[in-house]
Symmetry: C2
């Protein structure tokens, strides 16, 4: 009887064990878990804190309310799960795992024929003065969430400071504003979601966050935590921020020490190196989940990108291969989606910053528009930025943000990226259309079309960031072609050289513009801005640009009313 | 100056004209439209009748409220639009279009260098006695919707009969039930949405429609309409149904006569034949929109599939090629999405019926599950059926139905189909994951996984339809592995040979089952049904099948409480 041992009882480990059981009804399968609980949905923790999930036990249950505990795994899958059992040493010669029973201190040695390392990752805790004070939490384990929830219940938390404006940080910012706390997010880098968004998309999300009462301090570094027993303030390089609760959301590092100590190869990312069959440098040892490196299939680079969805796929591949299969895990796209109150932010593939760093010759386009046809109730704006290789038209990546349906568009582009498709392919997809769901030309097709128009030289775009820098240039005129009604409601702030000419009047008012000026045309979403470019170029203007995304995607301040 | 003439002022025609203007600021562009209005969103008409869209004018306006009338096209795009101007003859020798001004009866002859035929399609009106009675409408033009709306306003419509259970028919069924009418849908074929759904998926939607008060009569043929001035009843081959309002939703036929009379090639579908650059058999004449044939890129077959999204893509390609471009339209996937109250039904690529007819060796899998992780509020069930080529694993098509997010999954599969991807590719896509949006393994990946498991011989499935036929077979035992609580709430009706053994007890209660019997295992969504198969097969049972989709996707009656 083959002995399979799995270290780690959350996503990848349990999935691998279950899959292996399916292939091999005879094998002895043992899962070692350091913690008290297994198989919990860590991604759900912010939603427990925010109140969407009422019972934290739900994160550990099957959809029909059965706790996925050791009993469940024994009865249903004939898998032995040992909790509070820490794997301390992997002895590859003897093919044993040394374990320590955390409750009793006992040690034991468990033999394996095949081993799976699924030790996950841990939240980064900075080495700063005061970091051990009370009410400073990470949000990695149900215990963290329970502790925060208890504090919230007591009503003693009024002001929260979150360190890090990444996924967990902003999910917690949503959760804590929902719980009526005053929330400040301190981010060392210059923008929201610095790990995956380009600044003009991040700017849109940051503007929204501010409207929801989230105070975002970027380019600011935490220096120490102040307090006696519990934290009372956070000191940054710029100010002191009072705080009753601090959430450290500075990312994670892979739990690779056990593997490294056993002599298994660990990569530059600090995570365990595996091949495309999820094997480590020892052919009898697999690894998966948050403790391993992944390949980004667009860049070819090795990345550390812990994600529950990836962990589950790893588990499936490992399970197959434990039984002699040759399933492959091809890699990831660093796809991300995150909810921020009513806003969704998503990304797949490369950002423009990534593409630049990797030396691609690329082209981008950013378009804004309603997520379904404008006459349907509930149509909401989304902004999409596409990045493609200039020579081949191959799609490299996409970002999207808005109150409308963003995830669908991200997933469509993820499919195109997986299959190496081009901008033309993306435009061609016969996407489902009906008025309650989208427009005859879906937002992703509009974005693809904009890239095609740019490649053909028909659309000359300028990003909101570049336009902002030209605002005070003398030779640049901003041309707002919206209707007077629209302009009355909202206008770009601080724009001295601006002309308001509604699109329908442009052909007859061309003399009001000067052919020597650079003209930045725009409207609400810059579809009319694009029409304006056509009219102006048709009339011999040679220096016309369309401000991509228009007023809708303008990340800076506006004048209203 | 080049003269471009476009016949038809709705989607494809206007798009082609606008795109051509963009490439060629000099060309004279004239659009001829028989009707009084142009550029209206016909797809929105059911939503006007149903009350979602309050003002029918909104269907003819830009998002900022400007009517897309002749003035708009003149001012913004320098395009001349002539309404109430019917093209009567295309003289290809003289390169002229003869037109008749419908208001005055005057005729004229308009010369062209390049012509675009975008004459659309018309609703089928059956040649049945009484079809000309009052209050019998198609829903093709805003005038139809206005007339229905007027009748609804007067309160004289109480009972509506809709002929045809296709897209328009069911959208109108939703609209009229929303307006408190008693709605009966009569469909000649044996199921709901016969043109694109397999029966077990159609059955789920039909069950839902019945819950919403829509009476669906399938396999029933309308024979005549009864009434003096206005319709009072519909007579079918089975009964007489009282009716104050009848909607004919029997599909459409292409308006190809003008092209046919001009000697242009028309296909077996009755629609105009075009090449992949949207050229007709005359190189100076393009055609696009609802009047042309499309190629289904999976089957390679020519189809007539009028769709607003396709028409817009046609227009773009024609516009490019009018200016000497060589843009190509690669074809369609017959993708469909339709809302039926809270339910969404979608399909892309081939159905199983299509695959069978085309002689494919295929494999299918049907899975049900929540559209986001079960602990999140608002998670709703969706059922997905995937069809793949057995030998290659190439995805052939997908259908989905449910109250959850269906359109996203349809669009992801449409992307995979466009790029010729396999089931493995579909599983591999790094789809965006976060608890508010989906599960770590998205529903489409679960479906792909089920197909992979079937291909590997690990999952032996049986469809709900096939299971139903075995319900009374003596040697077949239905094994419901749900919890007692779940079984108390809802059970399959009329199932004499059923065993209730919760999954957690199955390993210890194997003696209650007989190895000679065929066992059909299932649960709510048949994930536990699949676990049961594994346990039973591990224990030597050789004739076990999983009922795909479980109770959630059971299209037949259930006992409750």
């Amino acid at each position: 009887m083959k002995k399979i041992v799995v270290i780690g009882g959350v996503a990848a480990g349990l999935k691998a064990a279950a899959k292996a059981r399916r292939c091999d009804p005879e094998a002895g399968i043992t899962v070692l878990e350091r913690g008290e609980i297994i198989s919990y949905g860590a991604c759900g923790l912010p939603y427990y804190v925010g109140g969407d999930v009422h019972d934290i036990e739900d994160l550990m249950k099957t959809p029909v309310g059965i706790v996925r505990g050791p009993g469940y795994f024994k009865n249903v899958k004939d898998i032995v799960v040992l909790t509070q059992t820490e794997a301390t040493v992997i002895d590859r010669q003897a093919k044993t795992v040394k374990v320590k029973k955390l409750a009793t201190g006992e040690t034991d040695s468990i033999p394996y024929d095949q081993l799976v390392i699924a030790t996950g990752a841990s939240a980064i805790k900075p080495r700063l003065a005061g970091v051990e004070l009370g009410n400073i939490y990470t949000l990695w384990h149900p215990d963290d969430a329970r502790a925060i929830q208890q504090g919230l219940g007591k009503g003693t938390f009024k002001r929260a400071v979150i360190i890090g404006a990444g996924l967990v940080g902003m999910e917690m910012a949503e959760a804590l504003t929902k719980r009526q706390l005053e929330v400040t997010v301190v981010e060392m880098k210059e923008q929201l979601f610095p790990a995956f968004l380009d600044p003009e998309i991040a700017g849109i999300a940051a503007k929204y966050a501010a409207e929801k009462g989230i105070k975002l301090l970027t380019g600011e570094k935490v220096e120490r935590f102040i307090g006696e027993t519990d934290v009372t303030a956070v000191e940054t390089d710029k100010r002191t921020i009072p705080a009753d609760l601090v959430v450290l959301a500075m990312g994670a590092h892979p739990n690779a020490k056990l593997a490294e100590d056993a002599g298994l190869t660990v990569g530059a990312t600090g995570a365990i190196v595996v091949d495309d069959e999820m094997r480590t440098s020892d052919p009898d040892i697999f690894a998966g989940g948050d403790c391993v490196e992944n390949v980004n299939i667009i860049s070819g680079q090795k990345v550390f990108a812990p994600m529950g969805s990836t962990a589950n796929k790893h588990g499936r591949v490992i399970g197959e291969n434990l039984c002699g299969g040759h399933a492959k895990f091809k890699g990831i796209l660093n796809t991300v989606v995150v909810k921020l109150h009513g806003l969704t932010v998503g990304k797949t593939g490369l950002s423009e910053q990534d593409a630049k760093q990797l030396g691609y010759e690329y082209i981008t386009a950013m378009v804004a528009g309603p997520d379904k046809i404008h006459y349907m109730p509930g149509a909401k704006l989304i902004t999409i930025k596409l990045i493609a290789e200039a020579k081949t038209g191959k799609v490299l990546g996409m970002q999207a943000v808005g109150e409308g349906e963003v995830a669908k568009r991200v997933d469509v582009v993820a499919a195109v990226l997986t299959l190496g498709g081009t901008i033309d392919d993306l435009f061609d997809i016969d996407l489902s259309y009906a008025p309650p769901y989208n427009s005859p030309i879906d937002n992703v097709a509009v974005a693809a079309n904009a890239v095609m128009n740019k490649l053909a030289g028909k659309l000359k775009g300028i990003s909101s960031l570049a336009a902002k820098e030209k605002m005070t240039a003398e030779q640049t005129v901003f041309l707002d072609v919206r209707t007077p009604d629209e302009c009355k409601q909202i206008r770009l702030a601080g724009c001295p050289n601006i002309k308001y000419i509604p699109l329908g009047q442009l052909r007859s008012r061309l003399t009001e513009l000067n052919k020597d000026d650079e003209i930045v045309a725009f409207c609400k979403i810059s579809l009319r801005g694009y029409e304006a470019e056509g009219i102006l170029e048709g009339a011999g203007f040679e220096n016309v640009k369309v401000m991509e995304g228009g007023v809708a995607a303008w990340p800076f301040s506006c004048e209203k009313g």
